[in-house]
């Protein structure tokens, strides 16, 4: 950095100069604390990973005949769960993300200010509804409410594979579970999108408006590009929750060990987390390892999904607008 060795200051100069201060204690403490916290996360994660791998190994080497449901192989057991996990989370995200962006925009740029604050508050509150309650609501209110619509869909649009019959008799299908998941992750995603949208520099909004942009054009020019990393972050948080949600899915879904894209039938693919919740209480021996192995798989799925998201965010980092 500097080519100053030649002019090493004299002893006297060093005394005179107040520039050469001791390393600042606050800075050291603060940056170390931050560093240690970051490392603590790595440590915790390493521990979790070690735990998952160590506890999974017995399942990998075990005879599949000992597993619940007697699958032909380990993958036969895991694969439908992987499918169900990704499928339900995707459905949830596809339904919830546009809505979340819509609500966030409504609050940040459409609603009157007073109303917006109130709405923001209500949405935040909903982020706190425990998953058990979502489960209760899903069983008691949502499933019966959507059943007529499902019947209508199978009768009239049954030729579309997604809506193929026979329709479930209780409405507790993967679509219902995905709706519950969507509703669950909606508040989190909305809250993050809203905060980011509100932070859009006024300068940029004004720039767009002064060019004669309509409100929507202003949003596409200034708000959404600025909020893009935040939207992706929020979506990832939501997706993480949807992928890992346990209780609500376990309570609402009518699962089977199958792979199907049909949305409205009684037999639905199960998710990894819900399957753990359903099977764990009665499992013992190698089946516990099996379930933990599925947990490891979920872990890896999340890893992959997040890597993709990060890649997308970083690809246009120069254009992020973050300073």
């Amino acid at each position: 950095m500097s080519a100053t060795e030649a002019t090493e200051p004299t002893e006297a100069a060093q005394q005179r100069t107040p520039l050469r201060a001791k390393q600042r204690l606050g800075d050291i403490v603060f940056s170390r604390a931050a560093l240690i916290s970051g490392s603590a996360i790595l440590l915790i994660l390493a521990l979790v990973a070690i735990f998952l791998v160590a506890q999974s190994l017995p399942a990998v080497v075990a005879d599949p005949g000992d597993f619940i449901g007697k699958p032909a192989s380990l993958w036969d057991y895991v694969w439908p769960l992987v499918f169900g996990t990704l499928w339900s989370a995707t459905l949830a995200l596809v339904m919830a993300l546009p809505l979340a962006i819509g609500i966030a925009l409504f609050i940040s740029h459409y609603a009157p200010r007073r109303l917006a604050q109130l709405l923001g508050y209500i949405i935040d509150l909903l982020a706190a509804v425990p998953s058990v309650v979502y489960g209760l609501w899903g069983i008691g209110v949502l499933a019966p409410a959507v059943l007529p619509a499902y019947q209508w869909l199978t009768e009239n649009l049954g030729w579309i594979p997604f809506f193929a019959g026979p329709v479930s008799g209780t409405g507790r299908t993967i679509l219902t579970a995905a709706i519950v998941l969507g509703v669950m992750i909606l508040p989190v995603m909305t809250a993050i999108c809203r905060e980011i949208f509100l932070q859009t520099p006024v300068l940029h909004e004004e720039a767009a408006l002064a060019l004669g942009a309509t409100r929507w054009e202003m949003i596409t020019m200034a708000v959404l590009p600025f909020g893009r990393p935040g939207i992706i972050s929020g979506a990832m948080l939501g997706l993480g929750r949807a992928l890992g949600e346990t209780m609500a899915v376990a309570m609402v879904l009518s699962p089977q060990a199958i792979i199907t894209f049909a949305l409205l039938q009684s037999a639905n693919p199960n998710t990894i987390a819900a399957n753990i919740a359903l099977s764990f209480p009665e499992s013992y021996g190698v089946n516990v390892n099996l379930l933990i192995f599925t947990g490891l798989v979920l872990f890896l799925i999340t890893l992959a999904v997040n890597s993709i998201a990060r890649y997308i965010v970083n690809r246009r980092k120069d254009f992020s607008g973050a300073n």
Binding site: R24, G26, F30, S31, L35, S37, G38, S39, I41, I44, L45, L47, V48, F51, L52, A100, G102, I103, F106, Y110, Y121, I123, D124, L125, L126, A127, A128, V129, P130, S131, V132, V133, L136, W137, L186, A191, I192, E195, Q199, P201, R215, S233, L237, G240, R241, T246, M247, I272, A273, I292, G295, L298, F299, T302, L303, V305, N306, S307, A309, N323
Partner: protein, 359 residues
Amino acid sequence: MTATQAPAGITNSLTQGRLHPRTPWVILGLSLTAAAGIVSLISASTDSAFSLVGTVALGALFYLVMVVVISRQVEGSRQATDRFVTALVTGAFLVAMTPLVSLLFTVVVNGSARFDVQFFTSSMRNVVGEGGGAIHAIVGTLLMTGTAAIISIPIGLLTAIYLVEYGRGPLARAITFFVDVMTGIPSIVAGLFAYALFALFFDPGIRMGFAGAIALSVLMIPVVVRSCEEMLRVVPNELREASYALGVPKWLTILNVVLPTSAAGIATGIMLSIARVIGETAPLLIVAGFSQSMNYNLFADRMQSLPVFVFTSYSIQGVDTQAYLDRAWAGALTLILIVMLLNLIARLIARFFAPKLGR
């Protein structure tokens, strides 16, 4: 560009091609009326009940089509797009609010049956059937979530600060990446992990509130990091530079400039993270156990929490099922109210620090 529109005797060329402000409302009214007519015709011919949902959905569709078509004719395609999106955004909002309001409504209606003094003064110790309360679960939830928050918020916030203010290079990338991964740990796995960790150091029958707090922390930390990181990043560099230029060291800049500027966002983020874990059932059932009695000690014995209370009240009902269900819903309502209170506090704190925007 717009000068192509001939004034043609209209008094104000700027209003030309502009719908009257009341027009959309008229269209909406017409759409709903038309939809109601069609739906009632259908329901009369098929002998089914009049569907309000169908009416609203059909009406919304009519409105969308009509407003776009009319606006396109009168105002041009850009305004039509704007109106379309406005309708869509508002619609998205209403659609999304429906389940959320239904949910809140369900909880409030069902929860009010047992929302009484006894519920907040007694535990379930020695209670069979009716009566009893959830004070033990409330205390447990507050203790465990509080401890998890005390562990997670500093770690999470400091990590976010590290990532935004200090972190460069491979370590920061690794942390960012693994925090993402952590957001995907299923809650039940966090519970199993905490159990395995504590079983290493204690006997296999170990159940304690603190272990529950650890499990919750594993779930909470990534949410804190992710949301706080996002909020810190939008603090303009100009402010940091202004502070550095005054000879303020970095840590004081972060503490006195960056954090207060993003306080509202951080408060929201922390609220989200608390909300994320305060409703967790599965991990607590595994490591904190299940108890009917009050326990103030985080480091010994089973500790009940509200979600576990709600879940077990629902799933393990005795003969008097209604009493169990009522308690379950009252527990859910209590949980939501607790979060509401925390939210309120967070907002007050945030308002205290928040940028005084007057521009």
